[in-house]
């Protein structure tokens, strides 16, 4: 099942934009830009003309684009497989609904890691040619947390796809709800900023931050790695991200197991 879904996702041309975006960036920097090694061993800066951009700033823009590509591309196969015409072919084989669900998550993870490896390979070539550096912790951070970032969005998208049976509704609602996690990460500060005094509201928002997969948390982790390597990594935040993926993930599984095709 994992092989079937992986094959389907690799044939999704929308997702090819991911390595294409990175390739364009690398070619642009090779031709017009330059790379300077940072003082620490886990970062670098990109120079384009007079501009000197930190790795954190550049990567956050590239990862933003990659996330957008994934939100558009990844749900496509799942929405196709959810249709009665396809699912009846799959589920009439000795495959349970749980096998189907977990195989899908595994296949998406495999493809996300594969495309991340291509991304890292392209970046490594650029950094080696332009600055002769290999920031290992930077690469390891991206390898671990970029697929996790995509999964946080994908879990929410799968939930809404399963409920609505609509690719568009799944992708838009999944993106919107998961994006709220960045705000929820700083909810205490936001509540103080807006002067909201209701304790009930505070508790509700904190509870919500544990329910929505924390894409904002993953972005925060990546920033920590860009600035201070793995020694700066907040283990508590990592645990919070993993916990936040469970409620909607389990809810999706529950609804999927009850779904008729």
């Amino acid at each position: 099942m994992i092989r079937f879904i992986t094959r389907t996702i690799f044939k999704n041309k929308a997702l090819w934009s991911w390595p294409a975006i990175v390739l364009l960036f690398v070619l642009a920097i090779m031709y017009w830009g330059d790379i300077a090694a940072a003082q620490n061993s886990y970062s670098f800066s990109v120079q384009v003309g007079d501009l000197n951009l930190s790795a954190a700033m550049v990567m956050s823009q590239i990862i933003g684009l990659i996330t957008l590509v994934c939100i558009i591309g990844f749900p496509n196969h799942f929405s196709q497989n959810l249709k009665s015409e396809r699912s009846s072919l799959i589920l009439s084989k000795p495959i349970s609904r749980s096998d189907f669900f977990f195989s899908d998550l595994a296949a998406v993870s495999i493809v996300a890691v594969a495309y991340t490896l291509i991304t890292l390979l392209l970046l490594a070539i650029m950094l080696a040619i332009k600055a002769a550096i290999f920031p290992f912790q930077f690469f390891l951070g991206i390898l671990l947390f970029l697929p996790l970032l995509i999964l946080t969005y994908y879990i929410t998208i799968v939930l809404f796809l399963t409920i609505t049976n609509s690719y568009l509704a799944g992708a838009i609602l999944g993106w919107f709800i998961t994006s709220l996690s960045a705000g929820l990460l700083k909810i205490e500060k936001l509540i103080d900023l807006f002067g909201i005094e209701s304790e009930l509201f505070r508790y509700f928002m904190v509870a919500l931050s544990y329910i929505i997969p924390s894409a904002g948390g993953v972005e925060e982790l990546l920033k920590q790695i860009y600035s201070g390597g793995f020694s700066a990594l907040d283990g508590g935040l990592l645990a919070f991200i993993l916990v936040s993926c469970l409620p909607l993930g389990l809810l999706s599984l529950y609804i999927f197991r009850k779904k008729e095709f």
């Binding site: 009665s84 009846s88 072919l89 009439s92 000795p94």
Partner: protein, 244 residues
Amino acid sequence: MILKAENITKAYKSSADAFRLKIDDFVIEEGSFTAILGPNGSGKSTFLKVILDLLFADTGHITLMGKSHKNKESRVKLSYLPENFSLPKNFTVREVLQSFAGLKKSPPENLDLRIEELADAFDVNYLDKKVKGLSKGMTQITALMNTFLSDDQFYILDEPFNGLDAVKKKGIMDYIFHLQDKRNISILITTHILSDIDKTCDHLHLIKDGQIIEEASKSELQDQFDTVESFYLHHFENKEPITS
């Protein structure tokens, strides 16, 4: 016994026209060729989907290959061709067959050779053509190849001859007979085209408004009616005089 369904009910409450499937007792023996016939919307496909646990029955119990139909192991030696199916459009026919065969617990040994053999049997010369470029008949043949690719014991075919010409239909039927002779397979089929199963079925069930209203064996049928069509029309033909 290949299949036994007892006291099955399934109701659709949300639809404007409420529908209720009610099957009291339905059995398929090993090596049999059973057909379910009935008008559009009579519940044929719904019943097949309930058997496969694609739709959940409200009540009743189904045993498939000796196991509860809820157990995925009950589908290890089963193949199903749905009436409406969707194959991955950017796959070639060969890739479709390889991918779906991979979903079986034990895909056929020497899969590529098996695909070639099946392509010969079904007169298919478009294995490397993408699904999106296939005609309706070619897509149907691809789905049939997918159904017969694994060496299964029980085949559930929902309107398998949709979009096929007479020559192709005969080819498929010949292949099914060949499998019955070779491996004593069991077939459960639904079709609108009664002549397709006229001489092949050894058990017939007529279904109307979700209930089996009549069943007959081949010998019973031959005693009373010449053809399956006569049997069908006897039960379903509108006997009201046509008034202008």
